[in-house]
């Protein structure tokens, strides 16, 4: 299967603190891949490098054949991103937020309008397009962020702890929606989380621990290999070995 994300020998430090150590991993196209690790494992730093918010100290990142350092515009154009922190403009409406995002992606207003309608209808938010973000609840705001991330039809969707601050029902709905996109759109998803319950046993998982790739493979295989009873147990073992 073609490769969506190819990371080789990636390291990064903040001052004298090494947060990523020689990370190498691949994500195949059309897959749902969980990036699992305890707090402080280096997930957000890796995520920030993938979105080019920070430049890596060493190593290579290639997204759909585009080197992130050498051709950042082509690489970034393949990405849709949902950050852990809310990033919507509270004083603008749902549609205005999407229009702004489309514009900074270089989309024409006509395309933005058509795509915004498509995505918002799919998330049952089209009727609320003129409402200010300020008046929406947390679950709806996250759905707007998903719609926004998909507006320019990226090939890879990156989600950083996207379900934090959501209640159980919103969390289940969100994960279900993302999984359906893989089937319908052929999207590749890299899902960063520290909550093992969000992943299914058949999912491909990358375990990150203290800035290193601890293991990569199917979650059920990783559980068996670690002698753990379930994903939570696996995470607990990982946290203990990391502390």
């Amino acid at each position: 299967m073609p490769v969506a994300v190819n990371i080789q020998a990636l390291s990064h430090s903040f001052a004298d603190r090494k947060v990523l150590r020689n990370v190498s991993l691949t994500v195949e196209q059309g897959m749902f891949v969980g990036l699992l690790g305890a707090n402080g494992a280096g997930k957000t730093t890796l995520f920030s490098i993938l979105t080019r918010l920070i430049c890596n100290s060493s190593g290579n990142v290639v997204l759909f054949g585009h080197d992130l350092q050498r051709s950042p515009a082509d690489a970034l154009a393949t990405l849709g991103v949902v950050f852990q922190q809310p990033t919507l403009d509270l004083d603008l409406s749902v549609l205005q937020n999407l229009q702004y995002h489309g514009a900074i992606q270089g989309m024409s207003p006509t395309d933005v309008q058509a795509r915004a309608q498509e995505e918002l209808e799919r998330l049952q938010l089209w009727d609320r397009r003129h409402e200010r973000i300020r008046w929406l609840n947390g679950g709806h705001r996250r759905r707007v962020e998903i719609a926004r991330a998909l507006l320019h039809q990226p090939q890879l969707l990156l989600l950083d702890e996207a379900t934090s601050s959501l209640d159980l029902e919103s969390r289940i709905q969100l994960i279900g929606h993302i999984r359906s996109l893989i089937k319908t759109e052929g999207l590749t998803v890299l899902w960063t989380t520290h909550v093992a319950e969000e992943l299914e046993t058949d999912d491909q998982v990358i375990l990150l621990n203290r800035g290193e790739v601890h293991a990569q493979g199917k979650l059920s295989d990783l559980i068996t290999a670690a002698g753990a009873s379930d994903a939570n147990h696996l995470m607990l073992n990982l946290s203990k070995s990391g502390s």
Partner: protein, 269 residues
């Protein structure tokens, strides 16, 4: 990237800034109230300040309201630029700056768009103020409103760039109050916005020289002369130099990602 993508991005950033200005009506109104208070109250109290004094630009003795109007235009630009910088600090803290930075378009271009958008909102505020100032008998030649436009735009770019530079240096929203006290007020008061520089020359020499090296002095003087159909060449040259240095420094040197992420790093990455 197609060339049209740059155009769509430019218009999108401009539109967002205008939408935000319209949504935050109190901000727009307060931006007008501040200079209008100076015009209606402060200028009334100091009406006799320039009595008997002939300023070459105006030809004959001039009312104080007329004299301080270009200075108040500068005040609007200055405050709007700083407030827009404040919104960038807010954007960074709220994380929406991250969305902007994940755009495939070059960051220097995105920041240029942002600067232009700030300048445009300043322009709207300035012309709204000049319309109200007309009611206070501040009536420059009609063509002056047009000739002042490039000067106002250049001033807005210069001060917007300064604001961007400051925004990149500020780590937290709370620190911005310090900038108002240590940057905005000195820039404004150490300039000919409220009184001619000759006043300072006769009195305190260091204050006079502080005014001479203050770039805001030349922003105000360029606008003052342009509004009365005159070109102040030294002011234009200083404006051009400040424009080149500050916009380049702001656009090339501004790296919010570096600050916003590195600052958080030691806490648990």
């Amino acid at each position: 990237m197609k060339n049209s993508a740059y155009l769509f991005c430019f218009s999108g950033v401009l539109k967002r800034e205008l939408q935000r200005s319209l949504q935050q009506r109190t901000r727009f109104i307060s931006a007008l109230v501040r200079p209008l208070l100076w015009l209606a109250v402060f200028a009334a109290g100091f009406r006799g300040t320039l009595e008997g004094m002939v300023i070459p630009l105006y030809g004959s003795p001039v009312d104080y309201e007329v004299y301080i109007t270009p200075g108040l235009v500068g005040m609007i630009i200055l405050f709007n630029s700083m407030q827009s910088s404040l919104s960038m600090v807010y954007d960074r803290e709220m994380g929406s700056m991250r969305v902007l930075l994940t755009s495939p378009l070059p960051r220097s271009y995105l920041l240029f768009c942002k600067l232009f958008a700030i300048a445009l909102t300043s322009l709207l505020q300035v012309y709204a103020f000049l319309a109200v100032a007309f009611l206070f008998d501040v009536a420059p030649p009609p063509l002056g409103y047009l000739t002042a436009l490039p000067a106002i735009l250049m001033g807005a770019f210069i001060l917007g760039a300064l604001g961007l530079l400051l925004a990149s240096l500020i780590e937290q929203l709370e620190n911005f109050a310090g900038v108002m006290n240590f940057v905005v007020f000195p820039l404004f008061f150490l300039s000919p916005a409220l009184y001619p520089l000759t006043f300072m020359q006769d009195g305190n020499t260091w204050v006079y020289w502080a005014c001479v090296i203050n770039p805001f002095t030349y922003v105000v003087e360029l606008i003052r002369h342009a509004l009365y159909l005159d070109l102040n060449t030294p002011a234009l040259l200083v404006n051009l130099a400040a424009f080149t240095v500050l916009t380049n420094a702001a656009v090339l040197g501004f790296d919010p990602a570096r600050r916003m992420l590195n600052n958080r790093a030691p806490k648990g990455r």
